[in-house]
Symmetry: C5
Subunit: 264 residues, 5 copies
């Protein structure tokens, strides 16, 4: 469970709800079904028009995953795992194959498998780098879907407000005392703008940002694992492996083995 | 038929029409021929000014294609086709030439043809990469036409609204009771803004996005086919071909042959 | 003569003029000399401040060229010319020198001259690539001038409107019946915004876009000619030259020689 | 203590406070708790939703560091330190190890340590470059948090204003004399926009800019230190070290040793 | 003296002053000290917060330099100087050392000095390229300061307007006849927006643009000089030097020596 997201979501909705409830207008004034139809319906329709159906499906499932699984807090454990593997790799491929089953990360496991299968170092790097690149391309499409939705929502909000305003202005000429009706009608028109801004700022933009962080975190981690697998292939000493992989961590998280990194 | 686009288009137009029809103003208030002239005519005129005539033609035909042909759902079949070809390629160029006729994708077919014609691997890669690059340049011009139209439409919408507003304000001084006429006149002025925002959000921007996805999907696919042709040239084992090309797919779509990828 | 630009310009101005003439306000309301001074004068002044004098001169002349000369419709003739030259180049440098005089494109001619002058392939590529790069840098400065003008124009339009608005508001307190004068005064203020948006959308932005297309078309063409000259140097077979240069064209424009590209 | 930041912060708040205090409205009108809740609370909530909790924590601590520690004024002392070390390095690794303890910069110290530990030049460069790259990736995440907050703040400011406006407009129909209440209500609504713009312009954007400068300054310095360590490894003459490292400084800050750089 | 900048500045200020003086409001209405305080003071405060003190100082001095020194009109003289030097370089290092004193450009002089000092070609290129890169990094920081100021100015303009508006709206409820005071008060509020837009469009943005042109012109020139120094090192024939360096000039400025470039 990603606590920050949950807290953020609850807090954000709570703050807005509190502001609506304590404001001058009765809470019911902020509920307007036609406005909701235009903003939510219009945004979804424009999204379907903009992207292949498959991408839109994926985004929906991705949104759930973001809330279920927390982000990576640190790369430290992956460094430790690679250092452990480097001890085993020096004993030979047979030992490495036995150890393979204990690797939880699929990307690392596939890399180790390629060492066992006898690919050479360059081939392994190329294949692993191609996987990172293609994962990034695919995931950035989904980030882009969210970003585009964050742009459509205020657009349709504005459209709804224009529809409401035009309706109000057309009616003004017919009304005996327009100053009585102009206020409530304009309020309804502005609700649509409010929905659009709310959706963009509390849903689509934060989700796109969070998705972007995860893509980048994954890439840093997988780039680190490529270096790791490369050094497993070369049967480098665990101390060297740690020194090199530490470069991917902030200095405050560097671990050093008991014998201290002073000798190599 | 690209169902998502069709559904999106119908849903989007339905939602807007529904909002207009159920709003406070009679539906006819949203129809204003001069507004339409300014937004559609002005956008087209500015587009003709901005781009070579040929690019503008192409965009019109491209818009139709987007609705007719669906996007690629997966690269899986192309991986399978390349794996099949790699079995044939190991039998020699004569066998490959016979198989060539069954290849449906032109880009792959041209690559195989170059193997048969005796080009070396580097030449084939260079020619195929130049083709991808130049296709991207050409298609991004067309995406750019759509993006620019999406910027012109609200610009001309604003211009129309300014023309309407100025007309109304000039008339205000002459009118005995301006409050009777100000409403309906301003409504007409805002209709032009509405048209501009509608065109940008429900037509030009979604079309530009969809076009962009297709350009990128094509590039990923063709980059994969370059790797494939390169391995055909090297007569690599089908299992290696599949392992490498799998990198272009999300892990969930990886297929493995019966003998499982464990041996090479 | 670039027909699209001419049609676009006439259509755009016609549409705006038609809208002004048939609108509620008399046509003369849209003519306001002080507004014109602020928008046109201010934009020019800010442009002089922003760029070296020489760049500003160049942009003025470039604007005329855009209307005089049409864009390239296709690269096909250049491919044909390169293929012809490749037949001659195989006969030796003396033949190539004779043929040189018939080359109309200066960039290609300089390349062929360098072959005749005895530069080696790498030197020729380097010099030709440096020319493309430096031409792009120079021309992008001019595109940038137009883009910046497209940003200044609405900025000064807004400034003019603020000046008008402030004048009107200051006067309001003094007037006996402000509602009579507020309309016409505000109309005058908005005319300046209208000028700024019009200049940006119907002049500066389209011109910047057209200029950008031409820069990119030139670059694609010159990159193609570098490949061509490189193959002339290597005395490649005309069929190979055509195959490689075709990569710069959309497949629909590929020509093949009578003997069909099947042999090499 | 970073004096510029402190002066800027005090001056900025002083100017705004002065403007509020001397304006037409009593100072208390600019204090509105619900507005503050929406802007500050909403921005924080959206930030929590957008980023991993850890990044948000870091940003808070980073904000303090910016005020505590001043930026680097010049790279000159680092050049001098590297030149000094180059004299020692020529005497051998043993001497270098003794000198190591006096190096205050951690990045330089780690580099010297790797020379002592016997890594070769290429390994040292790769490790040090990986450290720069990964530090930049991590720190740009934090800059991005601040930039995103600078975008959320006015967004929530606008939302608060919309809530206030809608409340006011709904109330207008019910009020006997709306013109008495419309002013003060709208004032309250606009206070929220004011808060949002203030937070973005006087807090989040300046902090993001300052953070960005520091990231880039660090990178220039560390790139210079890589060159330095590389030349220590090669035991280059101190004069050559100075000549090369001077390239990272503006010419006005170049120091030359007594013997003047004329000889090498 | 940079005439374009001076003319632009005088013309821009003249146009705005003329518009203010001939407008409906007395000229004094556009002078408002508190507005000036908020926009100028606020922008400076935010700038101090955003950047190291040293960068802010530099920008102030840079602004003066822009007006004092004109831009480069052409690279032609530098090409001629390099061609002259290439004649001398063929005579040997001793001759080159004598000629060195006549070189006015410091960057070129340092390059020639490094040839004399016996650095090899690769070292010279690396050092000179590092100098270009680091000069660009430093100067882009200063461009960035100006760009950021151009964004802060309208931000503080808007803040000032909000402060004024709120003051006015709060006062409205208390006033007997608000319609008398609303105009002049709102005028004062809008003056702040006017100041912000004016500063951005007539000062900060043009200065940032001009600064950017100069950075890019310098880079093109220095890149050309690297090629020149590289060919001095190789003792290339003056004709070859001219042919290669011409690539940095537009074809219309190419000079050819008397013997015409036809032979090499």
């Amino acid at each position: 469970m990603d606590i920050a997201s949950l807290v953020g979501m609850l807090a954000g909705m709570g703050i807005i709800f509190h502001a609506l409830a304590t404001g001058a207008a009765p809470l019911i004034s902020f509920y307007n079904l036609p406005s909701l139809e235009i903003v939510v319906g219009g945004t979804l329709a424009a999204t379907l028009l903009s992207f292949p159906l498959k991408e839109v499906y994926k985004v929906a499932s991705v949104a759930l995953i973001i809330f279920k699984k927390g982000g990576m807090d640190t790369l430290g454990p992956f460094v430790n795992e690679a250092v452990e593997l480097s001890r085993v790799a020096r004993l030979g491929v047979t030992e490495l194959e036995k150890e393979k089953e204990n690797i939880s990360n699929h990307f690392l496991k596939d890399g180790v498998q390629m060492i066992i299968d006898g690919y050479n170092e360059l081939e392994i790097r190329e294949i692993m780098e191609a996987r990172i690149e293609n994962r990034e391309i695919r995931e950035k499409w989904e980030e882009n879907v969210l970003r585009t939705m964050a742009k459509f929502a205020p657009g349709f909000g504005m459209m709804g407000t224009l529809i409401g305003l035009i309706g109000m202005l057309v009616g003004m000429g017919a009304s005996a005392d327009p100053s009585k009706t102009i206020g409530p009608n304009m309020a309804v028109a502005l609700v649509t703008t409010f929905y659009g801004v709310l959706l963009a700022n509390l849903f689509f933009n934060p989700m796109a940002e969070k998705f972007k962080s995860r893509i980048e975190q994954q890439t840093v981690m997988q780039n680190m694992l490529i270096e790791g697998v490369s050094m497993l292939y070369q049967k480098k000493h665990p101390l060297v492996v740690r020194e090199k992989l530490n470069s991917f961590l902030p200095p405050s998280e560097w671990e050093r083995d008991g014998d201290g990194g002073e000798e190599k």
